[in-house]
């Protein structure tokens, strides 16, 4: 198996892992982290595609690599905005739950009993 | 000459890797923050130092050699600072030791 295919498959699994985390974690910070894992997977896949495109004396296709740099910076600004929103939500409400305010949920959290 | 240098590289890098292994083992097995820090800083300082020393003869310019040495010095410096801060935090009870 060649390098590009290996990392391409690795990227596919990273994206799946991140997606699972995003769908199952109730904590918004974990969702943000999972989004970052998905993002890294997509970037790695693009990197593998760039590596396949080695030609004209270059070890990899420089166009995807340049786009990746843009992508990484954009992903970072998204994470920064999301974290700032989350911290502000915590400051204002004292909670980080994303669920809608319904009285049943309130009752549950006020008891704050360990759940196991 | 180049055979000798290659031998030196192999020897020094292997020794460095050994220190890293030992440090990682300590990090996983030692009971508290202080002893773990001890293990970790050994790996950083000596392990990385040996790897850098081993790689020096493989560089083809003085410039690159200086960069390698700079990396070692920076890691030494930040390692020392960070372990100090971790130890302080552990002693004042900010993190669980």
């Amino acid at each position: 198996m060649n390098t590009a295919t290996l990392f391409g498959l690795c990227a596919s699994m990273l994206i799946g892992l991140g997606l699972y985390g995003l769908l199952t974690h109730p904590h918004p910070l974990r969702k943000i982290l999972a989004l970052n894992v998905i993002g890294s997977g997509i970037f790695l896949l693009f990197g593998a595609i760039a590596f396949r495109g080695a030609a004209a004396g270059m070890n990899a296709d420089p166009v995807p690599q340049a786009l990746l740099i843009t992508g990484i910076v954009v992903a970072f600004s998204a994470s920064a905005l999301a974290v700032a929103l989350l911290l502000r939500l915590f400051e204002v409400t004292g909670d980080v739950s994303l669920a809608n305010e319904d009285p049943a949920a309130h009752k549950d959290t006020s008891k704050d009993r360990p759940h196991d | 000459m180049s055979l000798l240098l290659n031998l030196w590289t192999i020897l020094a890098v292997s020794l460095g890797v050994f220190f890293f292994l030992a440090g990682t083992l300590g990090l996983l097995r030692f009971p508290d923050v202080f002893t773990r820090l001890h293990a970790l800083t050994k790996a950083d300082n000596l392990g990385l130092g040996l790897v850098v020393l081993g790689l020096l003869p493989q560089m083809n310019s003085i410039h690159a050699m200086l960069k390698l040495l700079l990396i070692w010095l920076l890691v030494l410096f930040s390692g020392a600072i960070v372990s100090q801060m971790l130890a302080q935090a552990a002693r004042s009870g900010e993190i669980d030791s």
Binding site: I32, I38, I42, F46, G53, T70, L85, L89, V92 | -
Partner: protein
């Protein structure tokens, strides 16, 4: 290909609003509104120039307006391209943006002390940013540039959702952001796969080389799902109502009328322009089925709302559904070898009339809130007395949502309905009629309730300036009279476009 000096207007349409953001931030203080309004005026001139130019080419060469950036032609470089769809969207968005700016003039005025305050700065800068990002979505010819445009749009929308600063709006904003980020990541993933398969991101070039194979199918599926999450098509709509209803009226109008249209437009681009030969009729049927579900569920939930702003937000969920009915209709006609243009025109008209009508409704709801001090639907007495123009606007906008003649909504639904019958898909027509019926129920309730006389001696909480009412009425009137576009001598929609049947024709 026309690359005249007028094509530089495409660059200006994108960068002028952002330059406004930069200067607004730099000058700051109490001058933000002045900077924003100046930029809006200049931007209107730019869009006017583009439309003028497009009408000129419409009767002449009939090709799209193009601009190759830096002289580096694709696939290496990036080109901007405005066809009929882009020009229409540019125009519609410019109209909504400028009327919302007129409305917001008082709501986001600088503080008396002359000190910079948070809400006006954020509102005006984000209004400009939304405008620039949407224009970029409409004219960009490159899939990666479109990814950046989507992110710009998200980053401009989120602060507006959270402008109020209350806990629930922060929560709504965070949920919106997480949905939107996943959406743009899935879109990017699809674009990455397309680059891996065909080595270009340029829409025109891709449409020539893309083949109906597993790889392009996977890319289209991923990108579509991502964009649907951003457009809030059922069942990915749960983030929308709290996000749109919690913002100040002018911000809600921007979010509900315009921002969701950006990602919808991109779905349209992908299906009709990038990969028409990958699309299958059953995939288009699935998209429309989700749209139909959105129409039914959105309208029924809207009927059960107690507050005006939430009702209008749920009505957006339903109206988004209509936007997806055109897909099987257009592809159905194209598959049958018939002219698919009426379905496309119907879909475009639906988008534009919804943008105008929904902006009018949210702004009207804002005025009603100011007058009554609340927006409970059960108690709208006295509104018509205090705000006659606004209630007229609500009725006209509602008529457009329902689809009464001669509104834009009527013409849109008429075109879609006849496309449905012509392509033998009567069931989508039935969904449209049912949706119209449900919409008319809540529009009727709102209008009748607000016509009820107020108690003797009742005084409005706040006196609303006339020009705010006039801005709302202007929006509603444009939605209502949009149906007269049928009389227009030029068919702007088809400018620079290849008929779908030709694109699909060769295997």
């Amino acid at each position: 290909m026309t690359e005249s000096p007028a094509s530089l207007l495409l660059v200006l349409a994108v960068l002028l609003p952002f330059t406004g953001v930069i200067f607004g931030l730099l000058i700051g203080g109490r001058h933000v509104r002045t900077v924003a309004l100046t930029t809006v005026a200049l931007g209107l001139a730019v869009i006017g120039g583009i439309v003028w130019h497009a009408l000129g080419t419409c009767s002449g060469s009939g090709t799209a307006i193009e601009y190759v950036l830096g002289g580096w032609s694709p696939p290496l470089g990036i080109r901007l391209r405005a066809d009929g769809l882009s020009v229409l969207m540019l125009l519609a968005v410019a109209v909504v943006i400028s009327l919302v700016s007129v409305y917001a003039h008082a709501d986001f005025a600088p503080h008396d002390s002359g000190k910079e305050t948070r809400a006006p700065l954020v509102f005006w800068l984000m209004l400009l940013a939304i405008w620039g990002s949407l224009n970029l979505v409409f004219v960009s010819g490159d899939l990666f540039t479109l990814y950046v445009a989507l992110e710009l749009l998200t980053f401009a929308g989120v602060p507006l959702v959270a402008l109020d600063g209350r806990g629930e709006t922060l929560r709504a904003a965070l949920r919106y952001l997480l949905f939107a980020l996943l959406g743009s990541l899935l879109y990017l993933l699809g674009a990455v796969l397309l680059y891996g398969a065909y080595g270009t991101l340029d829409i025109q070039l891709l449409s020539q080389v893309v083949r109906p194979e597993a790889l392009s199918w996977a890319a289209l599926a991923l990108m579509t799902v991502g964009l649907l999450a951003k457009t809030a098509l059922f069942p990915l709509h749960i983030w929308l109502p709290p996000a749109h209803a919690g913002a100040p009226a002018a911000a809600s109008a921007l979010l509900s009328a315009l921002v969701v249209k950006g990602s919808w437009f991109l779905v349209l681009r992908l299906w009709f322009d990038v990969m028409p030969n990958v699309v299958t009729l059953s995939a288009a049927q699935l998209l429309a089925a989700l749209g139909a579900a959105a129409i039914i569920v959105g309208n029924i939930v809207a009927l059960r709302q107690l507050r005006l702003k939430l009702l209008i937000a749920y009505s957006t969920v339903a109206q988004i559904g209509y936007l997806f009915l055109m897909f099987p209709l257009a592809f159905g006609l194209a598959f049958a070898g018939m002219d698919s243009a009426p379905a496309l025109t119907g879909g475009m008209l639906q988008t534009i009339s919804h943008a105008l009508a929904k902006a009018a409704m949210f702004l009207a709801a804002g005025l009603i809130y100011l007058t009554l001090g609340h927006d409970r639907i059960s108690d709208l007495r006295g509104v018509a007395q205090a705000l006659p123009m606004t209630v007229t606007a609500l009725a006209l906008a509602g008529a457009s949502l329902i689809g009464l003649p001669p509104s834009g909504g009527f013409l849109a639904k008429w075109l879609l309905l006849s496309a449905a019958l012509e392509s033998g898909q009567w069931w989508w027509g039935a969904v449209m009629l049912l949706g119209g019926l449900l919409t008319s129920v809540y529009v009727f309730i709102i209008v009748v309730r607000s016509l009820a006389p107020a108690e003797a001696g009742w005084m409005p909480k706040t006196r609303v300036p006339q020009y705010q009412q006039m801005a709302v009425l202007a929006l509603a009137l444009s939605a209502f009279l949009l149906g007269l576009a049928a009389l227009s001598p030029v068919d702007l929609v088809q400018l620079g476009r290849t008929p779908l049947s030709l694109l699909r024709g060769t295997p």
